[in-house]
Amino acid sequence: MAKSDDGIRILQGLLVFGNVVIGMCGIALTAECIFFVSDPHGLYPLLEATENDDIYAAAWIGIFVGFALFALSILGIVGVIKSNRTLLLVYIILMLITYAFEMASCITAATHRDFLTPNLFLKQMLERYQKSEPDNNNDKWMTEGVTKTWDKLMLQNQCCGVRGPSDWQEYTSAFRITNNDADFPWPHNCCVMDARGSPVNLDGCKLGVPGYYNSNGCYDAISGPMNTHAWGVAWFGFAILCWTFCVLLGTMFYWSRTEY
């Protein structure tokens, strides 16, 4: 009896510890997903225009899952300490539902990261940047978002195009329809700007003289934050799921050993 009592006490202690960790991780997951959803780099319009912003959906799910994990962990601690079968049953069922949601969110974030390739953003940039005649309101909204985002990206990161300014020369684009090639071989935001926001040397920029235009592409500035976002949601979520799996198994075992 003493041994099984000791065993039960140890199991209770472990389950309480496990639930405390789940609660803290839940809060951390909520905070991380709120950070990603707030879009500190301003890249959401690019994802929105691809009509596949699933990594944002994954982050939204992560917010609610994190909060649910926190609440459920408290329920679990109470249930374990009181050895209440009903409470533990409720805990197990709700935790399984939360587990399923978090699994969906992680898999979405992990697989959609592969969707974010340079060609995707190149095609979008060529089709939408400074497009003059949108088809409908939705198209207009997306076009404005893409144009503003690219303008801001090129200015702040001192970059041009996805792979470089030659993107604007090698491919036809909506930009080329409204801007003649002689004056705008690439957008003027690709030029090195002075303090007042006008190009230091416009002719040098048009010719591509080093020092007067931005020669590197913006793909790193886009993919860096997006990859961090996707990986952060996916892998932290997987880590929490692994831990939760163990705690759930322990709780089910404990539940089977208690009596009403």
């Binding site: 071989p185 040397n201 080093p210």
Partner: protein, 289 residues
């Protein structure tokens, strides 16, 4: 007594026949007498061995869909021009360059607006002093960079954007008061870029016309960029490698104003309209016809 003159005439004709094939070496130092004599027979047109070319430096903008850049000829025209001469750039479709005929006077220069019909034009009219060894100037010329001119029906030369990807061939032509005085060789064919894929429909390519000469005229401005440095006793400017030219020198180009027409200051005679007068001595007046 007539025999020497007959022999001279035969020599001149022989030289003229060989002129189209090989460049007449302008390195014939101290040969001013025979040069003058030959030019007398050849109508006064010297063929310089300089070949215009696109700058070898890695500039992404040197070839775009409607413009291209050329290396600035340095110290090429010094021995063949006077103060009143203008250097024009002739641009022609590559298959039309052989049929191009130099215009006999400035009034008959084919202009940018005639490109679709004549398949060539002349622009970038520049005072010859701008290409002198001692002149400070940008290291490249940009052909097609002026979008504000053209279509006005004026006689001012226009450096407008090229309507099709080409290929084009260019040469420099020195025009004096009495007509062309010197020309360089034709460049290699220059093919412009054409965007592919993407989204938009590629621009329509106009019909290729027979050989027409394009002269691109650039209004010179006293902008100092990279001065030509002349080797002692040499006739070529010292050239750095393409990239270092831009990496180590400050590159300040001049903004070409949209309005080419400028009022001629008094005392500038025989200077093309829009050229203006600068620190160089005013061009010598042409004899009144």
């Amino acid at each position: 007594m007539e025999l020497p003159w007959v022999l001279l005439a035969l020599a001149g004709t022989g030289a003229a026949a060989g002129l189209g094939d090989s460049p007449r070496g302008d390195g014939a130092e101290g040969d001013g007498g025979s040069e003058g004599l030959q030019s007398l027979f050849l109508g006064g047109l010297s063929l310089l061995p300089y070949v215009p070319r696109v700058p070898p430096a890695a500039l992404p903008g040197k070839l775009t869909a409607t413009t291209f850049a050329l290396e600035r000829p340095c110290c090429v025209f010094d021995r063949h021009v006077d103060a009143s001469d203008a250097v024009w750039l002739v641009v022609a479709f590559a298959n039309a360059s052989a049929a191009f005929r130099n215009p006999p006077s400035r009034a008959e220069v084919p202009l940018y607006e005639q490109l679709p019909t004549a398949c060539s034009y002349m622009t970038l009219e520049t005072a010859a002093a701008t290409y002198a060894c001692s002149a400070a100037s940008p290291a490249v010329l940009r052909v097609g960079g002026d979008t504000a001119c053209g279509g006005q029906g004026g006689r001012d030369p226009c450096n407008g954007p090229l309507p099709s990807p080409g290929p084009y061939r260019v040469k420099f032509l020195v025009m004096g008061c009495h007509g062309p005085k010197a020309e360089t060789r034709w460049s290699d064919p220059i093919l412009l870029r054409r965007g592919t894929g993407g989204t938009a429909v590629p621009p329509r390519v106009p019909r290729i016309c027979p050989a027409v000469v394009l002269a691109s005229l650039r209004t010179p401005h006293p902008l100092l960029v990279s001065p030509c440095s002349v080797k002692v006793g040499g006739s070529l400017c010292r050239r750095d490698s393409g990239t270092s030219t831009f990496a180590h020198r400050s590159y300040r180009t001049h903004h070409i104003p949209p309005a080419l027409r400028q009022p001629l200051p008094p005392g500038c005679v025989c200077s093309p309209p829009g050229l203006g007068c600068f620190a160089h001595p005013p061009p010598a007046p042409c004899p009144v016809k």
